[in-house]
Amino acid sequence: MAYSDKVLDHYDNPRNVGVLDDKALNVGTGMVGAPACGDVMRLQIQINDDGVIEDAKFKTYGCGSAIASSSLLTEWVKGKTLEDAAKIKNSEIAEELALPPVKIHCSVLAEDAIQAAIQDIRKKRGED
C-alpha cells in the first residue's frame, strides 16, 4: 500500500503520544475501536478554565493510517473549544492525509474518538 508522505511522517514521528490523568475533572478520555477489528484508539484531551483544549495525547493500536489519523487529530484539537473540536469531520482528516478508500474507516475512528473524549469531559462536569 502506497501511503502519502503525511501518513508516513505521522507514523515515523507521531505527535503527542502519551497519557493524561483520566481521573482529572478537566481531562476527557475517548477509547474507540476493538482489538478484533485491528484498531483501538485512545484519545485524551485536557481543557483549561476557559473551556479551551490545552493538551491532547493519544495511543493507538492499528495500521499506519490509524496512527496517523489520531496523531493528526491531537494537533488539530489543541487550542480549540470543545464546540469547535466537536465539528471536526472524518472527511477532513481523510483529505489531509490523502487516505485511500480502504483506510477511510481509520478517519471515522478518529472522529469517534474525539466525540467520545468530549462526551466524557462533559459527563464529568455534569454538562451532559
Binding site: G33, A34, G38, R42, Y61, C63, D112
Partner: protein
C-alpha cells in the same frame, strides 16, 4: 548488505541463475524454440526432447514415473484440474469431497464451485497447532465421498500434513487423495512409490523456477482418471490442452533437478537460519509462534507480536519484504482465515508476521531483521493502548469494546 531484503520466499522465489540460463536457451532462433507438437521437423523433435528431459527431472524429485506428470500453468490450475476433474469424473460414485479450512484459495474456491454444482464439501478444522489429524479425515469419509484434498505444507504457518498416513486411509476406503505440494516440493521429501497419493499439484516459482508454470501428478497405478478442464489439441494425453511452453518447462525441470540435488544441504542451512531468527525473538515478551515447529518446513516462521498491529509493523520494516495475516494488508478487512481456523483470537491474527527464508538468505540479513523487529515492536508498543492495559494487568477479553 543489499536493501531491501527479501524474506517472503513462501510468496514466490527469484529464478535461480542456473534455471534462467537454461530457459534462455529455449527462446530465440538459435535456441530450442520449436513446438513440441510439430512432428515433421527437428525443431519440434528438439523441443519434445527438452520437455521430456524436464518431465523426468520433475518425476525424479518425487520418485514418480515421468508419464505421471502433466504440465499446467501453475499450482492453481493443477488444483482446479485435480479437484474438479476428479470430482466430475467420479460423479456417479458420489458427490462428497473433503478438504480443510486452512487450504489455499485455489482449493477452497474449486470446492466452492463444486458446491454450486450440487456437491457437498466437508471442511475439516485443524487442531490448535495447525495440523490436520489423519483421524479427522477417517471420520469424515462417507459412502459417497470420492475425493480428499489437503495441502502438504501450509503456506502461512509452514506445518506439514501427514500425507503418508492420510493416503493409507484414503486408499483403504477407496477414496482418491489430492495433495497441493506447492509449498513442499523441494523442501520436504516426497516419495510417490511409497505415498498413497493419487494427484499432486506443483508450482515452479516456489522453488526458484519461473512463474506461470506448474504440473499435476496423476497416478498410473492404480490409475486415476480425471475430466479435462481445458479443451484443445489433446496435449498431455488429453488432460490439459495447449501448446507446451518449452522455456517454462525446461526452467521447471532444472529447478526441480537442483532441488533434488541440493535439498538436504539447503534444508540444513535454512533451518539454522530459521532457528536463529526465532531465538532472536526469545527474549521478547508476548511473541507467539503460530503453528508448531514439531512438524514444520524449514524456511517458514509465523509469529504474532501481541498488542502490535501487523501492517504498522511492516511499515517499520521497510527494508524488508515480509507478509502479514493482518486484515490491513489485504483488501478484505478480514484477518487471515488460516490463523483464525487455528482458533487464534482476532487480535493475534492481526499481529502476525510471516517470515520466509530461502536459498539466498544470509545470517547477516537474519540478524538485521531481528534488530529491526525488536526496535519496531518496542516503539509500537509504546504507542499501543493495549500494551498499557496488558502491563496494568487488564484482561483484554473482559473489556467491553465498541466494535465498528
Amino acid at each position: 548488505m543489499k536493501l531491501p531484503i527479501y524474506l517472503d520466499y513462501s510468496a514466490t522465489t527469484p529464478v535461480d541463475p542456473r534455471v534462467a540460463a537454461r530457459m534462455a536457451e529455449c527462446l530465440t532462433m538459435d535456441g530450442v524454440f520449436g513446438n513440441a507438437a510439430s512432428r515433421s521437423h527437428s525443431f519440434g523433435w528438439q523441443a519434445e526432447a527438452a520437455i521430456e528431459d524436464a518431465r523426468q527431472q520433475v518425476a525424479s524429485l518425487i520418485n514418480a514415473d515421468p508419464r505421471e506428470i502433466v504440465w499446467t500453468s501453475g499450482a492453481t490450475e493443477s488444483d482446479n484440474l485435480a479437484i474438479k476433474g476428479c470430482a466430475h469424473f467420479n460423479e456417479r460414485k458420489g458427490k462428497h469431497v473433503i478438504t480443510s479450512k486452512i487450504e489455499h484459495k485455489a482449493v477452497l474456491d474449486s470446492c466452492r464451485q463444486l458446491e454450486r454444482e450440487g456437491y457437498e464439501i466437508t471442511y475439516l478444522d485443524p487442531c490448535a497447532s495447525g495440523l490436520i489429524e489423519p483421524q479427522a479425515v477417517a471420520d469424515a469419509i462417507r459412502d459417497d465421498t470420492t475425493l480428499v484434498s489437503l495441502m502438504h505444507v501450509n503456506n502461512e504457518i509452514g506445518t506439514i500434513t501427514d500425507i503418508a498416513a492420510i493416503g493409507e486411509i484414503c486408499r483403504q476406503r477407496g477414496v482418491f487423495f489430492h495433495v497441493d505440494a506447492a509449498q513442499s516440493a523441494g523442501k520436504v521429501k516426497i516419495d510417490m512409490a511409497e505415498m498413497k497419493v493419487d494427484l499432486m499439484s506443483f508450482s515452479a516459482h516456489k522453488i526458484y523456477g519461473p512463474k506461470g508454470m506448474g504440473a499435476l501428478y496423476v497416478r498410473r497405478k492404480p490409475r486415476v482418471r480425471i475430466e479435462a478442464q481445458t479443451h484443445g489439441g489433446g496435449h498431455e494425453r488429453g488432460m490439459r490442452s495447449g501448446t507446451l511452453p518449452t522455456h517454462q518447462i525446461v526452467g521447471m525441470g532444472e529447478a526441480f533437478r537442483i532441488a533434488h540435488e541440493e535439498m538436504d544441504d539447503e534444508n540444513t542451512r535454512i533451518l539454522a537460519l530459521r532457528n536463529r531468527l526465532w531465538e532472536g525473538f526469545s527474549d521478547m515478551e508476548e511473541a507467539h509462534l503460530n503453528g508448531t515447529l514439531e512438524q514444520h518446513v524449514a524456511g517458514n516462521l509465523n509469529v504474532s507480536f501481541a498488542f502490535v498491529e501487523g501492517e504498522s509493523l511492516i511499515m517499520a520494516l521497510k527494508d524488508f519484504a515480509v507478509s502479514s495475516g493482518s486484515a490491513c494488508t489485504s483488501a478484505s478487512l478480514e484477518p487471515s482465515y488460516v490463523l483464525r481456523a487455528l482458533g487464534l483470537e482476532d487480535e493475534l491474527a492481526h499481529s502476525s508476521i510471516r517470515f520466509s527464508i530461502g536459498r539466498f538468505t544470509t545470517a547477516e540479513e537474519v540478524d538485521y531483521i531481528i534488530e529491526k523487529v525488536l526496535a519496531a515492536v518496542t516503539k509500537l508498543r509504546e504507542l499501543s493502548p493495549l500494551w498499557d492495559m496488558f502491563k496494568a494487568g487488564v484482561d483484554l477479553s473482559t473489556v467491553q469494546w465498541a466494535a465498528h
